[in-house]
């Protein structure tokens, strides 16, 4: 019987973890390029959840019945609009601050985070919102009383995340834009000298980060069905923990960190306490930054003067 609970928690942990990984990509890429934590990233994810619900409502209004078509169109619409959010945030709040004091971009990011939360709260109301269940049902293992199940929606999450990660890996490794991103990550000044339009690449990174967060946002929204204007905060810290766990700046690290965090958190929630699972994640973050700030796949950064 216990084995089924364990398997169940592992399933849940992996699905949750891939979502953490998707959102962690935004942190990791932005950090890799401009060495700054984008505090507003969690709120970009929150905005994407609202856009997904609104897009679904509009599609239903126009009489779209087919579930796969609705899901895919919602995904595409949300990604595009959220990407514009990512672009605009970088353009308005971070670009004017290049070369300013160390604290300036961080404080500006917190400002953006507050703005997004309060904007959504004012425009959409403070109450919890929801989406209808699109895909119900599950694969079950075990007998009638003791069983572990993986819902169809969780399967969709796994596949969609895999596809998103695949596309991302392709873009970063095999396209011109990806090559430029990697160059800027290694050394922003030299890339500028060699003719890379660094401002454009930084914008691109924000766009990619926002779009992957949007994939996560859509999937979470359809999985849990409810959300509010405050979800970005906790999700943001957890995704950041995932990014640090895997080594900030490393793309595979973000995914690995996400899955690891998801698994440990699910096991903690299953066996120790659900009330304290957020405390566990935050404490993990503090311990991690103390003992291994460069994560599992990262390299320690040597500061030169």
């Amino acid at each position: 019987m216990d084995a089924y609970i364990l398997v169940q928690q592992l399933f849940n942990g992996i699905t949750l973890g891939t979502i953490y990984g998707l959102i962690a990509v935004g942190y990791t890429m932005v950090y890799g390029v401009i060495r700054m934590i984008n505090f507003a990233h969690g709120d970009v994810y929150m905005v994407s959840a609202y856009i997904a619900a609104i897009a679904l409502a509009v599609l239903t209004f126009f009489g779209v019945q087919s579930v796969p078509f609705a899901l895919i169109s919602v995904l595409v619409i949300t990604c595009v609009i959220t990407a514009v959010y990512g672009w605009a945030i970088e353009r308005v709040a971070y670009r004017p601050l290049r070369g300013s004091t160390k604290l300036a971009p961080l404080i500006s990011a917190i400002g953006i985070s507050l703005m997004l939360q309060s904007y959504v709260q004012i425009a959409q109301g403070a109450r919890d919102q929801g989406v209808p269940t699109l895909i119900s049902g599950a694969f079950r293992f075990g007998d009638g009383v003791h069983f572990a199940q993986i819902t169809y929606m969780q399967t969709v999450i796994l596949f969609a995340s895999l596809i998103a990660m695949g596309i991302l890996t392709y873009v970063i490794n095999y396209t011109r834009i990806g090559r430029e991103c990697r160059a800027v990550q290694q050394n922003i000044r030299i890339s500028a000298v060699l003719g890379v339009n660094t401002d454009r690449i930084i914008s691109t990174v924000f766009v990619i980060g926002a779009a992957t967060a949007a994939v996560g946002g859509v999937l979470v929204t359809f999985n849990y069905g409810s959300f509010n204007f405050f979800i970005g905060f906790v999700m943001g810290i957890k995704a950041f923990t995932a990014a640090v766990l895997g080594g900030i700046g490393s793309l595979p690290g973000a995914v690995l960190g996400g899955v690891l965090l998801g698994l440990t958190e699910a096991l903690f929630a299953g066996y120790v306490s659900t009330d304290y699972k957020d405390v566990f994640a935050f404490a993990l973050l503090i311990v991690l930054l103390f003992f291994r700030p460069y994560g599992l796949l990262g390299r320690p950064e040597i500061q030169k003067v």
Binding site: M36, I54, I81, V84, L106, I122, G130, F282
Partner: protein, 434 residues
């Protein structure tokens, strides 16, 4: 030439309008109602138009002479510091007047205004505390509210379990909060800007979640009640509940619920003055100078022999102590504490006070604390826009004047042999001093 410029402006406006329309259309334009939506697209289009017009106005202003001057002052990053020559008139008279006015305030204010004044002073205290950490030492602490919570819960739980009263809490709180600050500071000592910010954020949330979930000890979301203050065994309640004598009976005057607030205000005011004095002294002491030096360049400081562990630790502990003090006053003023008072929003609000006051400037922080607490009370109709405006102000402030609105004044050193007054100070120019 002119047409060219107008064409550029038009292009700019169109681009801004399109982008903002994409941003605003889903969130402002289509409001979720159950699984359906309500059409508010007009609102979104108006917002987008507003943003586009704003952008064009900014560009046009940027072309005029005044605009160039403003942009120039932004580019200079706030212009550095004013180095005092040593000939300034001492502001003792003004300070004494302000002090007297502050002491006299409760006799002229009604209960409602006094409540706001107490709140404003509490935020002054919080701002001053965070200013040590963020403004002076340059360590971005996003979990400052945790120390505030420690102070507030010390009084509430200390009374419940140990029978601690207001005065004992007032003395213990700075030490307890300072201890928490030290516990937090040790792991973050070797971290820099971003990591430090996120760790302190996590710490603040852990404290809040524990307060929220540990039902048996803290009362969880229901909170805990706080005893009313006493002074020398005199109580402010109508009938004595804590084994003392009611104040109005002792002096033979009529009972009024206001006495309690007068008392809280006066003690708080004195504590704020004391903290301001301490911070101002610290700034010109070696410790304060080390904080500011560390903020500017840690590596340089360490190679010059500044003990960065000690410096950061003291900044964290002194900041935390001040936060703990503020917590005690908050608890005694509210008469009740629960975890919803200690969310990240509160931390962000305190940070907004420090940022808008101009990182590091005591006068600025006090002004910002007063403005940011009194203004929302006056503009009750715009209460829901409060956080939005804070966010916008934080971003605008960082773009326009990342060093703050108030210029930092700094005393100059004089060679001890030279007669005062007729020699130039040793600091050569503001740029060098910065």
């Amino acid at each position: 030439m002119e047409t060219n410029r107008i064409l550029t402006l038009a292009k700019q406006a169109l681009l801004t309008f399109t982008v903002s329309l994409i941003l605003f259309a889903p969130i402002s334009g289509l409001v979720l109602e159950g699984f359906g939506f309500r059409n508010e697209l007009v609102r979104a289009v108006l917002l987008a138009a507003l943003v586009a017009v704003g952008r064009v106005v900014l560009s046009v202003v940027g072309m005029t002479a005044l605009g160039r001057k403003l942009a120039g002052s932004a580019a200079r990053n706030g212009g550095g510091v004013i180095v005092m020559t040593g000939n300034e008139k001492s502001p003792v008279l003004i300070l004494a007047l302000l002090f007297a006015a502050g002491l006299a305030l409760p006799f002229f204010a009604d209960k409602y205004f006094l409540g706001i004044a107490i709140l404003a002073l509490i935020y002054c205290l919080l701002g001053l505390g965070l200013n040590i950490v963020v403004g002076l030492a340059g360590l971005l602490d996003l979990g400052f509210v945790a120390f505030y919570a420690v102070g507030a819960y010390l009084l509430a739980l200390g009374y419940q379990y140990l029978g601690i009263g207001f005065w004992s809490a007032l003395i213990i709180a700075p030490f307890l909060a300072g201890l928490c600050g030290m516990i937090l500071a040790f792991p973050v000592l070797k971290m820099h800007g971003d990591y430090l910010a996120i760790v302190t954020l996590g710490f603040g949330e852990i404290i809040r979640l524990v307060l929220n979930n540990w039902l048996e000890f803290t009362g969880g979301p229901n909170g805990a009640s706080v005893p009313p203050p006493t002074v020398l065994g005199l109580e402010f309640t109508r009938t004595a509940k804590q084994g003392g004598v009611p104040l109005h009976d002792y002096f033979g005057i009529a009972y009024s619920a206001d006495y309690k607030f007068w008392f809280i205000y006066l003690v708080l005011f004195l504590v704020v003055c004391l903290v301001i004095y301490a911070v101002e002294r610290l700034r010109v002491m070696p410790l304060g100078r080390m904080w500011e030096a560390l903020r500017e360049d840690e590596i340089a400081c360490r190679s010059l022999g500044v003990n960065h562990v000690f410096t950061k630790l003291t900044a964290f502990m002194l900041g935390a102590s001040t936060g703990g003090l503020a917590g005690v006053f908050f608890a005694v003023h509210q008469g009740f504490v629960n975890p919803t008072s200690f969310t990240f929003f509160e931390s962000a609000l305190i940070l907004a006070i420090v940022v808008l006051g101009g990182l590091g400037s005591t006068v600025g922080v006090i002004a910002a604390a007063l403005v940011l607490t009194i203004l929302p009370e006056l503009l009750r109709d715009f209460a829901e826009y409060r956080v939005l405006i804070f966010g916008v102000l934080m971003v605008a402030m960082m773009i326009w004047k990342p060093r703050g609105l108030v210029r930092v004044r700094r005393p100059a050193f004089f060679p001890s042999t030279a007669p005062r007054g007729d020699t130039a100070p040793l600091s050569v120019s503001p740029e060098v001093a910065r």
